[in-house]
Point group: C2
Chain length 467, copies 2
């Protein structure tokens, strides 16, 4: 028996003693299930999967893994798009799915306390039932978990007005790689007591500590919304309208962009058609608030801006059904586009005003490399998902063109003042591109921060940093 | 000549070669000036003061200080309230006051780029001139600098609606203790590319790196505001009204609290009187927005809530002059109270709804120790400045009572789910209390983070962590 294998067996025996029967899994079927997420076709089988129910169990698991030198990869719902939850060096997958309690919705302080395995939409439904609002709404919110949202600093359409996950996280309980349980922050809207470990942990992709409890800021739920669908004859017209809306001092609660092929894929996927589905580009713009007269005023201002920038029309989704349909099309885009072909997705983000240049540049790069791209995403944030599709391309052409096309797209993104990922994270699939965004000294500093938390390098190894 | 002295002389020679004449100071007068800030009566003389004009100069200064093992303490305007800018181990004070350029106000992206030495109010005036808004408004905004605001994560009255400094910082350029120049973030509203070093640096009190450029998010400037002055016969009535306002779903743009002695001190200091200046407690509540009808609706709701909770009256400051006067009284409180006596100020913060308990508890503790306290501050954030005054107390009684009274106040704060500092920072004056807020493992982790940035411990030593 190899050294690794005997360490694994010894660790397994200790984990069996610690955890109840169904909380430790090692069958081939289960290893299959926990070896992939939503990132392209990546697969890495773990050796063991543990499903703790308490913070103390997480702490003990970390102590055992440390004792036997086994990697631990934390996992939420496995909906990640950069391979962050994949056990790329084997070892233990630590799934937080059973720590799924909403511990408290504190209406007096507008705060909630949750465990990491709570499904985002479940949480949103519950807080909305008492008139409160948790805005971050990643596309996978029906299945993704708040712990994963914290790990990746998830965004979504509403980020443009309400901010991303980090803007709602006031504090955490977390388990360090050595098993220590720490707390930071609280039900506090101001806090300069020691370093902001909470904000360091948000977006750290499960590489610094395992978050076991989350304190979340809530806001009052806006009562009304208006949803507009705005078709354009050119990508440029749509991109310029986005900048013009914000220049007017308007802050929509969503400002989404889809190019023609994205719309078409989504319509086909869902078997429905949108008005002006044949436009070159669509914007989906929403405003929300507590007074319909104010919303109508904002809606009219947006119409005026869009028509000035060359929109073909502005369609108001004036019923709840029509709003849902428009959002169904937008939300299905990711899945629909990925069904078309083998793909690679990039999560580019640039300053909002640089959006037209980014979209134009991506199309130029794609043309030069003979590849197909479909762009859509959160235009109001300058966060565009660029899907590169293999389609009919030969394997050899694809394998040759893809790396340099991606590198060019990222170099353009960075040259425009942007960066590699707005909301999907770096994880495993994007780590090789980190040197495009950071100088060696910057990467060294981040590695030192990693080492401060995880001196043995056992927590979610093989992520974020280029090999 | 001692070893330290010869290192100092050698470093001075190198600094002289690097910097122009007036950028290096070592006269006794100047050392006096740079040896204190606004924190009580603390004084620590530096050996040298440098006033670089460029990031490259800051980098060279750090390399020189490292070579000679000399501590470097960064400094903005010296308005800090926890001694963060004091060179408690001597060495070099690095003042950012000459790096005072607003590099860009980017109206297309609603972002500004500034150097750390820009005075906060100067910046606010300039962005407001183009219809934009930078909300954080610490009491010292007329003289404090944005770099210091970033170091301390400054707040102020508007934080209750708009958040604190960290919520506006999108990116930084910074110099590490080894002289490396790093950048993180950008004009980006979403970013999950590597660890969030920007948010780690905000509030790190100049102990991790020296911020030399700041990318700041701006928002559209609200057009109108309404200011209400609400007198109460009891502290409790005021504190309960605060919680009730937020429970109604109202988010005022300021919600400030002053107890009677704070009002009296401020009136006397300014030589003016407020309506109901004889109340036990006053709330100053403001709403802002773009439509007067919406503001009037909110104002009426606040009036109703306050009267239900036992307010004596609600006074509308309906002219710009009256608004200014009310704010002059509130803003002068800190200075006025501190003129009354030798004092020690605590920057307690608790969950908003725990405010009545905090205020009641502070008064009980004070009574038990025979000390005088005056409370005021940002009630909407649960952030109350507790000023403990010596008044007629003998030196020996003061020296005996003070430490245990402060400790009890902090233990109460933490027991209520709060912490030591909401916006003043820990710096030098509060570091001994850190073990009340953090477990040893948590402090150890923070020290490891410090070490990841500053392995030699030369950047702003003697701060944040208890000895």
């Amino acid at each position: 028996m190899s050294e690794k294998n005997s360490a694994l067996q010894a660790a397994k025996a200790e984990l069996q003693a610690l955890l109840s029967g169904t909380s430790l899994k090692s069958s081939a079927d289960e290893m299959e299930k926990y070896g992939s997420d939503e990132t392209e076709d990546l697969f890495f089988a773990p050796d063991l999967v543990v499903l703790p129910r308490t913070t103390e169990e997480v702490s003990e698991i970390m102590k055992i893994s440390k004792r036997y030198g086994l990697p631990v990869t934390p996992r939420g719902a496995g909906t990640g798009l950069s391979g962050g939850a994949l056990p790329v060096q084997g070892g233990i997958v630590l799934s937080l799915e059973r720590m799924n309690q909403i511990l408290e919705i504190d209406e007096n302080n507008l705060v909630a306390v949750v465990q990491p395995g709570v499904v985002t939409e479940t949480f949103q439904t519950q807080v909305e039932a008492v008139g409160l609002f948790y805005p971050p709404d990643p596309a996978s919110r029906g299945s993704c978990m708040l712990g994963g949202n914290v790990a990746e600093c998830s965004g979504g359409p509403r980020a443009v007005k309400y901010g991303v996950t980090k803007d709602y996280i006031l504090g955490v309980e977390a388990v360090l790689p050595n098993g220590d349980i720490i707390r930071h922050g609280g039900k506090l809207f101001k806090n300069v007591t020691g370093y902001n470990l909470t904000q360091l942990l948000v977006g750290s992709e499960g590489t610094l500590a395992i978050v076991t409890e989350i304190i979340i800021r809530l806001i009052p739920l806006p009562k009304f919304r208006q949803t507009l669908l705005i078709p354009f004859d050119t990508l440029d017209g749509a991109a310029k309208t986005v900048a013009a809306i914000f220049k007017q001092g308007l802050i929509p609660s969503a400002c989404e962009f889809m190019e023609k092929d994205a719309i078409r894929a989504s319509e086909k996927h869902l078997g429905l058609t949108l008005p002006y589905g044949n436009a070159e580009a669509l914007l989906l713009v929403e405003v929300d608030g507590n007074r319909t007269d104010v919303l109508e005023e904002q809606r009219d201002q947006i119409c005026e801006v869009a028509m000035n920038e060359g929109a073909r029309d502005v369609v108001l989704a004036d019923t709840s059904e029509k709003q849902k349909e428009v959002w169904r099309v937008r939300r299905a885009t990711g899945e629909a586009v990925k069904k078309l072909s083998i793909y690679k997705e990039e999560d580019t983000v640039v300053p909002r005003f640089a959006l037209p240049e980014l979209v134009r540049g991506v199309k130029e790069i794609a043309k030069r490399h003979g590849i197909v791209t479909i762009c859509y995403g959160h235009a109001g944030d300058g966060n565009i998902h660029v899907n590169i599709l293999k389609m009919e391309m030969s394997d050899s052409a694809w394998n040759q063109s893809l790396p340099s096309a991606i590198e060019e797209i990222f170099r353009l993104t960075v040259a425009l003042g942007g960066t590699l990922s707005g909301e999907h994270g770096i994880g495993y699939s994007q780590k090789r591109y980190m040197p495009i965004a950071f100088k060696p000294q910057e990467l060294t500093l981040m590695k030192q921060v990693k080492k401060a938390f995880d001196p043995d390098g056992l927590l979610n190894p093989g992520k974020v940093f280029p090999d």
